[in-house]
Symmetry: C5
Subunit: 97 residues, 5 copies
């Protein structure tokens, strides 16, 4: 899984029936401090992630293993909102509350 930040949304009206009702978020891979520094991609939101939140996403067939994404033609899913990243004993990221 990779850390990413939610940076936007994608809207698509004409789509495969199996995509109906899923929310497509634009995310950008981020470093351990939560700084978005990677490539952008589109992932289905399975946890109600909000704009600018740091999330965890899974890619490939595993993206279909949440309740929201089962049997859908999607290859990336946001399945957790990150509260904290700790690296080598140091807190690198903490979610604002």
């Amino acid at each position: 899984m990779q850390l990413a930040r939610v940076i936007g949304t994608v809207v698509a009206t004409r789509k495969d029936a199996e995509l109906e009702g899923v929310k497509l978020l634009l995310i950008r891979a981020c470093d351990l401090d939560g700084r978005a520094d990677g490539p952008a991609l589109v992932a289905v939101d399975a946890v109600g992630a909000g704009f600018d939140e740091v999330v965890l996403y899974a890619a490939g067939s595993s993206a279909r293993l949440t309740a929201v994404t089962q049997n859908r033609p999607v290859d990336a899913v946001i399945m957790a909102v990150v509260d904290q990243v700790e690296c080598e004993g140091r807190r690198r990221f903490t979610k604002d509350v």
Copy 2:
């Protein structure tokens, strides 16, 4: 999933029986503004995407999860035509109507 622009077509007569009847489109990954700037690849069209449209494609086993691609030996599918991309509160791409 990734954003891409439809840039052309691929025709293949001699092919595996499971590829009969699918439309093979040439696409190029694009940035948030819809500018094709990535590598080209070939994807099956599951939504009737047209030339120059910005689309969303899924790769890997998920490419087989549309009605059109079930059980076929394909690893990329266009499963949505993109209407709008919004990033950090700004409209980056809007489909011409």
Copy 3:
């Protein structure tokens, strides 16, 4: 899927039983004009592709979805011989007949 050119063959006598009887071709990813310019890889031939032909290959689990590759430990399959590549209204590649 990706375009590739058939550049050679790989022979392996000692192999998993599920690889018996498959033809292993050496291919190199190519550009839209059919010029081999990418990395070389080994793919199972599911369509009787010949030396120097431009082909389409699928990777990952989808490589097991042809009649030839079912249930075999292979992650790349040539499932079509390309006749024509058209990009932005221009014919970029046409198979010699």
Copy 4:
């Protein structure tokens, strides 16, 4: 599979139900001497790996094949703690005991 070093942890409270109870570790791909020199990623711990240990992780659908990760939306799993890496007759890494 790849060698990696455990460098930290990720905590996520809001998450897909199928992620409940799994431990999310931050790892960094490492070289044959165990020096972390690659990109960081998040993997589920299936073997009780400790901080700074050199581990082996599997990616993709295979990440769901441990007892801990079955049917979960995860694409990377730590499924072994490495004791020894030998390359070209030379011991490159040995776990401290």
Copy 5:
């Protein structure tokens, strides 16, 4: 599939039960002449490959399709020992006998 050379071994005592009894080899992707020039990775040996042999490996879910690797959490398998690589009519690699 990719060509690789066997360069060593990895030993892991603490591991997922499904990894018991499999041999973990260290391999390095190689070019058409058999020169190891790529990144190192760890693959399960399904054919009794020996040190320094040039082999073929499959990645992803296909790595679980040999008799040795079925249902195991592994994402790379050596499923053939390469005897010969021929490219553009020229023998590039021949196994020593």
